[in-house]
């Protein structure tokens, strides 16, 4: 386990993300408010699910949490820093160091080998690939069960394997929080279970926090906390047995 992971564990319970009255609107002439006054706190080491019907604003909220978009109003703090005060370059740096991403369609870079895809977040932060990154990337691939495919190309892997690579990539910089947008949405049930178990394992072993956007109530039920979004409002927030 890396020093960063140890730090994640040691600081479990610390406030990672704080949202106060966050709203998000789109459009200039016709303004559509998608998120209405979201108040939310995510602590280190949490395994949380974000559920809600299509169009409820889950992806919009995830983009805000991932610093890929800016809130129209309200305050969003990541690791205590008010992101509204940061310029694009500072946001990019904070995103690279503090957040991991897993997407439904894995979005691996086909021009890079599997191990290079995993090394990519470190390369993005450090400005290039270095040999010292490889052992850690290989260890992560080993951890997600595809260590022997390090030098393969993404196109040579199955969908499940590609999603495992995406999981490894999300953990490369030891981020305190990983945002996963429907990480199992494109996989069969068995592979879905395997990928989710991976996330659970990393959460338990390294203290990495996960916020998983999902439509799957079974998957949400296996998380520690469930957030329910309906029509841009956070209508429920608690343990799965209370929310679901």
């Amino acid at each position: 386990m890396s020093e960063a992971n140890e730090a994640n564990e040691a600081r479990a319970g610390e406030r990672l993300l704080e949202l106060e009255g966050v709203t998000k609107s789109f459009g200039d002439e016709v303004v559509v408010e998608v998120l209405h006054g979201i108040d939310l706190t995510l602590e280190r080491g949490e395994l949380a699910a974000l559920i809600g019907p299509s169009g409820s604003g889950k992806s919009t909220l995830l983009n805000l949490l991932g610093l890929l978009d800016r809130a129209t109003a309200g305050t969003l703090r990541l690791l205590g820093r008010d992101v509204a005060t940061l310029d694009d370059a500072a946001l990019t740096a904070l995103r690279g160091e503090s957040l991991g991403f897993i997407f439904q369609f894995h979005h691996l870079i086909p021009a890079l080998s599997v191990v290079e895809n995993v090394m990519m977040p470190a390369a993005a932060v450090n400005g290039g690939f270095t040999a010292s990154m490889r052992p850690k990337a290989e260890a992560l691939l080993e951890a997600v069960g595809i260590g022997e495919r390090a030098d393969s190309w993404p196109r040579e892997l199955s969908g499940g394997m590609q999603q495992r690579v995406a999981v490894a990539r999300a953990l490369m910089n030891d981020p305190p929080l990983v945002l996963a947008d429907e990480p199992t949405g494109n996989l069969d049930t068995e592979t879905s279970d395997q990928v989710f178990e991976l996330l659970q394992r990393f959460n338990a072993e390294s203290g990495t926090g996960f916020l998983i956007v999902t439509h799957d109530p079974d998957l949400a039920g296996r998380c520690d906390r469930v957030l329910q979004l309906v029509d841009g409002r956070l209508v429920a927030d608690g343990p799965p047995d209370e929310v679901l």
């Binding site: 992806s59 890929l68 990019t92 991991g100 021009a111 890079l112 990519m120 993005a124």
Partner: protein, 398 residues
């Protein structure tokens, strides 16, 4: 070095697109090199042909001021008209001093005092009007490279020796070693043909009889005198400026080859402009080809660009990835295009009457222009990629 690495990988990944875009750049650079080499070769040949047989600069003796034929006392003078004197012998006062000044002028690489005049060449029953040119052999060859054009005999101007053009030799029916009589008003000289040259210009090959300076001075009754001093300059297109300097320093009349060949210069300038237009349009076509393929590449890779941005890749790195792609295409296109262009010029050279070469200067120019075109054409797609909203790009509607 993330940007060049990713740029190279993207190019390698989109092999078909890369080959297409590279083919476009290569053909463009090949056309650029080919056209440039031909035009430069043609121009050099024209200039060489023109200047190969004439001096870059000619310093002439001072024009004697017109003088009235009759100097009348002031009260009795009713009218007076002073006319330019008819062409007549102009002595070149202090030509040795003018020669030293000329040789000391920056930009002048060689100078040759000469004496020229008309004579009649007689061989048996054949007679031809000729131009006698007298000069020191070592100095003359640095003005007109006669040894290069010598088709028979040796380049030497000893006492009683002459070099003549092949056309004149044919007209007079003389061959190497034959005697020839040169006659002017009141003077004769018997010379032997030491060499026959073929410059490729009727004015020289059909009229010139080259003698030693002393021999020509004696024949033309100008012992110790010269009619002009010819000079070669370092940069032929700077001949006018050097001429002005020489004129200022000597106070004498100085003609440059540019004064004597205005039409040629106009033709060269027009050719330069046409070549420039061809080059610009060719490279514009290349730029548009590169830009359009890169724009398609940006659209196709928007998801990957989004994920790169999401995981912390800086905006300027994304910009640099596409600029590097443009640069790679530009450089590889330049290398391949220059090689192909050079190969085509080699083929063409077999059927042209002038040498065409793709020198290091042209190759370097093609490289820089191609690199610049590659970079310039990548700016638009690169900016588009860098400004992409990562969230929208990941969703696939960026």
């Amino acid at each position: 070095m993330l940007a060049p690495t990713l740029a190279w990988r993207f190019l390698r990944d989109g092999r078909a697109q890369t080959l297409l875009i590279l083919a476009g750049a290569t053909v463009g650079v090949a056309a650029f090199v080919f056209v440039s080499a031909i035009i430069v070769g043609l121009q050099e040949n024209l200039v060489d042909k023109t200047l190969g047989s004439q001096a870059h600069l000619t310093v002439l003796p001072e024009e004697p001021p017109p003088r009235p034929l009759y100097e009348a006392a002031a009260p009795t003078l009713y009218a007076r008209r002073i006319e330019e004197p008819a062409p007549r012998r102009r002595p070149f006062d202090q030509w040795q001093r003018a020669l030293r000044t000329l040789e000391a002028t920056p930009g002048v690489v060689a100078a040759c005092p000469k004496v020229t005049g008309s004579a009649l060449a007689i061989r048996g029953g054949a007679q031809e009007g000729v131009t006698v040119v007298g000069a020191d052999a070592a100095r003359l060859r640095r003005i007109v490279d006669l040894p290069r054009y010598l088709v028979e005999g040796r380049y030497r101007l000893g006492s009683g020796e002459a070099l003549i053009g092949d056309d004149l030799a044919d007209e007079l029916g003389v061959r190497l070693g034959d005697p020839l009589r040169l006659t002017t008003e009141g003077r004769d000289a018997d010379v032997r043909i030491a060499g026959i040259f073929d410059v490729g210009q009727q004015a020289l090959d059909g009229r010139w009889v080259v003698l030693s300076l002393r021999g020509a001075q004696t024949l033309l009754d100008r012992v110790g005198d010269v009619t002009a001093i010819d000079a070669t300059v370092e940069g032929i297109f700077e001949a006018d400026a050097v001429a002005e300097q020489v004129a200022a320093r000597t106070g004498l009349e100085v003609e440059s080859w540019i004064d004597r060949n205005q039409q040629l210069l106009t033709a060269l300038k027009s050719q330069d402009q046409s070549t420039l237009m061809i080059r610009v349009f060719v490279m514009l076509a290349v730029a548009m080809g590169i830009a359009s393929v890169l724009v398609v590449s940006v659209v196709q890779r928007r998801g990957q660009i989004g994920i790169l941005r999401a995981i912390g890749t800086k905006q300027r790195t994304v910009l640099a990835i596409f600029l590097w792609q443009g640069a790679f295409i530009g450089v590889v296109g330049a290398v391949l295009g220059t090689a192909i262009g050079a190969a085509f010029t080699q083929l063409l050279e077999r059927v042209t009457f002038f040498p065409i070469t793709v020198g290091p200067r042209l190759a370097l120019m093609a490289m820089l222009i191609s690199l610049g075109t590659g970079l310039a054409s990548a700016i638009l797609p690169a900016r588009r990629a860098a400004r992409m909203d990562p969230a929208a790009a990941i969703r696939g509607d960026g």
